[in-house]
């Protein structure tokens, strides 16, 4: 049906606006994305309730506000420490015991600066970088390769400083482990 398609298109056109709105509130790109998605699904399901209202954007923003409040409520119910550990990801969990001790003590790397003389080392490093999740890699490269300050990165990617640090920590620990296995253990 043409009018339904139109409705969908109009809604999609407002997505960037809604994302910006949700990001401002949630300061977390992934959570904002989810909230907007939920709001759009609800909007498409409730098309009839829009009939006759003047402004699509106002109506959608209203739905989105409810979703944002839901998200914030959900987040505040989660204990911070658990959320933090959780966010660090399974790769980090595997490196430590439940009590936070090393599962396996990091090996010595001798004089690692010797590796910096070898072009093959940089190939190994690049391969390890490619294995990182996209967002983790982006934050890490902005910080370490471009030398950006953490607050610039946060602003650019719409992350809280805490979330930035978690991603950087995950990147460093995963890269350390990857280089250990693919380069220094050989």
């Amino acid at each position: 049906m043409a009018s339904q398609d139109d409705f969908r298109k109009q809604i999609e056109a407002l997505r960037p606006y809604l994302l910006r709105f949700a990001s401002l509130q949630l300061r977390d790109a992934a959570a904002a994305e989810d909230a907007v998605q939920e709001a759009l699904v609800a909007a498409l399901a409730g098309e009839t309730s829009f009939a006759g209202r003047a402004n699509l954007r106002t109506w959608l923003t209203g739905i989105l506000k409810h979703k944002i409040v839901d998200t914030i409520r959900r987040q505040s119910r989660e204990p911070t420490v658990a959320a933090e550990a959780d966010e660090e990801g399974a790769e980090i969990d595997e490196l430590f015991t439940e009590r936070g001790h090393w599962a396996e003590r990091p090996a010595a790397w001798g004089d690692p600066d010797d590796a910096l003389e070898q072009s093959q080392f940089f190939r190994a490093l690049e391969m390890c970088l490619e294995r990182l999740p996209v967002r983790t890699a982006r934050v890490f490269m902005m910080r370490e390769h471009l030398g950006a300050e953490t607050d610039e990165i946060c602003k650019e990617l719409d992350l809280t400083p805490t979330h930035c640090w978690v991603l950087l920590y995950r990147a460093r620990m995963t890269l350390r482990e990857c280089l250990q296995q693919t380069w220094f253990a050989k």
């Binding site: 009590r99 001790h101 490093l125 640090w165």
Partner: protein
């Protein structure tokens, strides 16, 4: 003073590369390093990682 686990230590070491640690955090790290070889190594290796990544080819620039 609270003693840090290795997980907390490495988390702080990483943050120390991104923000200034406060006095309490720095002391807690030093104490942990006294008895933990694994974390001393991990700390050196994270610093090494920074040096290595800075030596990767320059990101392509828009101009020139």
């Amino acid at each position: 003073m609270k003693l840090l686990s290795c997980r907390e230590t490495t988390r702080l070491v990483s943050q120390g590369l991104d923000r200034e640690l406060d006095r309490g955090e720095r002391v807690a790290l030093r104490v942990h390093f006294l008895y933990c070889l694994g974390c001393r190594r991990a700390s050196r290796q994270m610093a090494f990682l920074r040096r290595a990544v800075r030596m990767l080819p320059e990101p392509r620039e828009e101009s020139s």
